[in-house]
Symmetry: C2
Subunit: 395 residues, 2 copies
């Protein structure tokens, strides 16, 4: 068991039996000091009860002390009862751990439309109290896994002028803009001290560069949440421009690492497409193209099958809605150019391309030949495992 | 062999060997009189060479005499050589059948980015000439099938005041707005006489009500084409408002029938979702919701698996981008209401719902509770067969 949480944070988990018996499905992170809170949430209009509560906490500007997460039920589309349940969870955690109920950040993932099993939650509390003390990121991460094939976490120490701080990220699911059942939940902890508005701004920029640029299936969950808690226990205050820049770079880097894990594990994914669009009129046009390619079922299945069917990629560029000149577009797949300014090229390299497509990481390079705009996006492939996982998720 | 083409039309097909040996992959329809031409084409910006030529024919306003269709190569993303090849095809058909090359409407489907195998085309011409004479819609339809599991065609006689006319529709692929490799090609023939602008307008309205409302995978092909040829050989001219209305209704109806076949066969589809969105502020909001639900990978896999996971449908409503009040939304699946104005209902009917979800046709009814707008959309499910078909299409 690793000791990889930042100072002042402890973890716990319990087997509540929300869905399956005998697996950890309830997790808790608690700080021994108040934490400055940052958060980013799903754009879905049916957001889950815990997301509504998280948004209220963020709007209040008040510090937080704990994160409680469950799998099994997403507590989304659950109406008034769902809101009562999430408030009860906050109160139960507050009472059992001696903190204010409003300082408890709730996260849920699982089946949408099902009410949270409060009897399971209540019954698991003694175990949750008893297990408190671990400082191991993996234990908490495992408690909110659903279809995840592996736990996703990373930790990093950062030497700044005034001392060392730690960043720890724990996540589940796949993607931020686009997942659904694979709700993306992510908790980022640090023992650095940082002002709330600075922490939130830094967080938003880092997420835009990382989690917002990965996709698995194009479905945006009701529950997607990423929260940041900074408790200041390292006694290192982030104030100078240099420290802030170093910290933000490390935050972006660690979130990129974890978001890459999400795509890698994207509901049965076997390969990751690294889509780079450049030469666009502006960033937005590049983004439209990258997202259309990353979302195309036909591109994803071709990549899964190791089929160098590049015409499907150009087809997605064609319906992306982006503004560009078709006759200036070029495409390389795995480093081999197959389409140059409207004409197919290198037909004789098909065998070499087929060989390169056996790799797990597939480079897709699209040059719109039209300007300075560029965008990078990672997307999973689409194979039999995705269908199997999602056709019988609830059973 | 049926005699189901309208008067004055004959069909032929040949085994050109564009992709596989020993299957019909080149088809021809020829009229013994000039035809008034109508057409609608893909919105993809990389449209195939034959699509560019069809657009030119439509813009010229000139009559046409023949349709030539091939599978194997789509002749899309093929640059200058692709344009030369399609013009050569028109000339070869013109020369061999004694008609003007500009009166030959070309259609192609198959792998994108591959040049049309002109040697195969040339070698097949004697067989194509020799086989001319059939008046059987199925023969032509089989010649442009790719992954289609069955040929899609329908024919109907229509008794009008001045006599009887026939409508025959032959199609391949899946969907109009959304398919890709499953390029949608559709030919509609009639022996009625009709003015060009009237024919084109009627055609556009009928397609909007039918082919534009089905989807399989959300990918819009480079080659999607639907053309209408009216040769007037029944000596019945459509002029009165009543005749035009009867004819347009029949056209819409037969196109609906054939477009339904496309979804049914949607690349390994086992089920069809009939999505009806009503109570929307306007038609556009209803359409946004219907398309988001019909396109969701998670909804499609749940339907495939017979899983009544209605939360995924609400999730798609939530990210559809449509304008509505979430707390007014209700949802029924297979006639069972599961979500009413923001609250889950009828949890006890899950078993009954699971039973109903075993059907091939799945009713999805979404009430936005907000106005008079409604939209109907059909979409296929997503299963292992889709992945298998598309992961190794080219091999």
């Amino acid at each position: 068991m690793l000791d990889d949480l930042p100072q002042g944070f402890r973890a716990s988990s319990a087997k509540a039996g929300f869905k399956a018996k005998d697996r950890y499905d309830l997790g808790l992170l608690i700080s021994d000091a108040d934490c400055v809170f940052a958060g980013l949430f799903t754009q879905n209009r049916f957001c889950a009860a815990p997301v509504l509560v998280c948004r209220e906490i963020l709007a209040s500007g008040q510090p937080v002390r704990a994160v409680v997460a469950n799998s099994g039920q997403a507590n989304a589309c659950t109406g008034d009862q769902g809101m009562r349940n999430v408030h009860d969870c906050q109160k139960l955690i507050g009472d059992n751990f001696g903190i204010a109920e409003t300082s408890v950040v709730p996260l849920s993932t699982g089946v949408i439309g099902a009410q949270l099993k409060m009897d399971c939650f209540r019954a698991a509390l003694p175990e949750l109290v008893n297990n408190l003390g671990s400082r191991d990121a993996e234990g908490f991460t495992r408690a909110f896994m659903t279809t995840d094939a592996f736990p996703k976490f990373a930790s990093r120490d950062l030497a700044l002028a005034k001392g060392t701080v730690r960043l720890t990220v724990m996540a589940k699911g796949a993607g931020m803009i686009c997942p659904n059942m694979a709700t993306m939940l992510c908790v980022c902890l640090t023992d650095a001290a940082i002002a709330q508005n600075v922490w939130q701004g830094m967080f938003a920029r880092a997420v835009e560069q990382t989690f917002n640029r990965v996709s698995v299936d194009g479905d945006t969950s009701t529950n997607d949440t990423i929260v940041g808690l900074a408790n200041g226990r390292a006694n290192v205050s982030l104030e100078t421009a240099e420290d802030l820049a170093v910290f933000e770079e490390a935050l972006t880097d660690i979130l990129r690492k974890v978001s890459h894990m999400l795509v890698k594990d994207g509901e049965g994914a076997s390969k990751v497409m690294h889509i780079v669009v450049h030469g666009a009129r502006d960033t937005l046009q590049a983004e439209k193209v990258a997202r259309a390619v990353g979302r195309s079922q036909l591109v994803k299945t071709a990549i899964y099958g190791g089929d160098g069917n590049w015409g499907r990629i150009i087809t997605a560029v064609g319906y992306s809605g982006a503004d560009y000149e078709p006759e200036k577009v070029s495409l390389s797949l795995c480093g081999i150019q197959r389409f140059r300014q409207g004409q197919p090229v290198n037909d004789d390299l098909e065998e070499e391309l087929a060989e390169r497509l056996k790799a797990e990481d597939i480079a897709v390079d699209i040059d719109l030949g039209d300007g300075p705009g560029c965008y990078r996006h990672e997307a999973s492939d689409l194979g039999h495992e995705y269908v199997s996982l999602n056709a019988d998720y609830r059973s």
